[in-house]
Amino acid sequence: MSDLVSATGAAARATDVLLRATGGRTVMLRMPAPAVPTDVNEQLGIATPAFQDIPLGPVVYRKARATVAEGKAAKWEMLVSATVVENLVGSLTYASASVLFSAAYGVLSDDELLEIVSATQEQVFGQPYVYRLVLRAPLIQMA
């Protein structure tokens, strides 16, 4: 039975259903274009990369309210479907989900760009079924 569950990705599909049932929505993952080799203008901040917004969903904010501490930027926690992350890793030819999220510039949610502070995954039988992103609001909104 356990082999059947791990082989079919049932946990990931069950998580997708749960995410959709609990108000799952779509946000945009903002990815910078690859750097230009040997272009010193990019290294000097003269030329800036183009960005591409990629749909990421279903996702759910773990709490309705951000975690706020005085003097620090508000933080959000977002649960992301492992199915869509695995698809993105494959289609964008990244080595792993951690590389994908570390390369991303941020998550665009309701016209607000949130920085990805950390990305961790939950696994069952060695297969990720959900990713947990900790997001930071822009400093301009600091309490």
Partner: protein, 168 residues
């Protein structure tokens, strides 16, 4: 000031790459020499290990001469976790190697290069040389700090340049 910062970075990067071409970092999918200026990159919470990260901190200007003399403090941060193959037990040696590379690159003669203007150049074309030089002092190394398994150090260098007329 910006031209002096750009010139110092490009000079230091090329000297460090010549000393150890194996020290590289991956930035947005591209491998490049392991030196970067933090303010020129996308904001990131991550720390680049085994690479030199430049930050421009202090700034002083002396207007007594015919051209204003600008003194800028460049903080060069670097950190290492050692190599996974040795369980991180070589992190002291890795940090010492980075100390030596940085000291050699900054201490190498000459201590001055012609100031270049990179912002006026078109993409792919050569920068233009300006009328004055950028020059710098010897580096000052702070004490190494251990954060978990990571060893970190900051070195500061005073970089001097004359502010030419019309220069940003």
């Amino acid at each position: 000031m910006q031209n002096a910062k750009d010139t110092f970075y490009v000079t230091l990067q090329s000297r460090l790459a010549a000393l150890n071409s194996a020290r590289t970092i991956v930035v947005r999918g591209v491998v490049r020499p392991g030196t970067l200026v933090e303010e020129n990159e996308l904001p990131s919470a991550g720390v680049s290990v085994d690479a030199f990260c430049l930050q421009w901190t202090g700034l002083q200007m002396n207007s007594a001469g015919p051209l204003p003399l600008v003194a800028m403090e460049c903080s060069i941060q670097y950190a290492t976790d050692g190599t996974p193959g040795s369980g991180g037990m070589d992190r002291g040696r890795m940090l010492a190697a980075m100390d030596a590379e940085l000291a050699a690159a900054i201490g190498a003669e000459p201590h001055a290069v012609a100031k270049m203007n990179y912002s006026a150049a078109e993409a792919g074309s050569a920068p233009t040389a300006m009328g004055t030089n950028v020059f710098w002092a010897d580096p000052v190394f702070s004490a190494a700090t251990a954060v978990g398994e990571r060893l970190e150090r900051t070195s500061t260098v005073l970089v001097f340049a004359y502010q030419e007329a019309g220069e940003l």
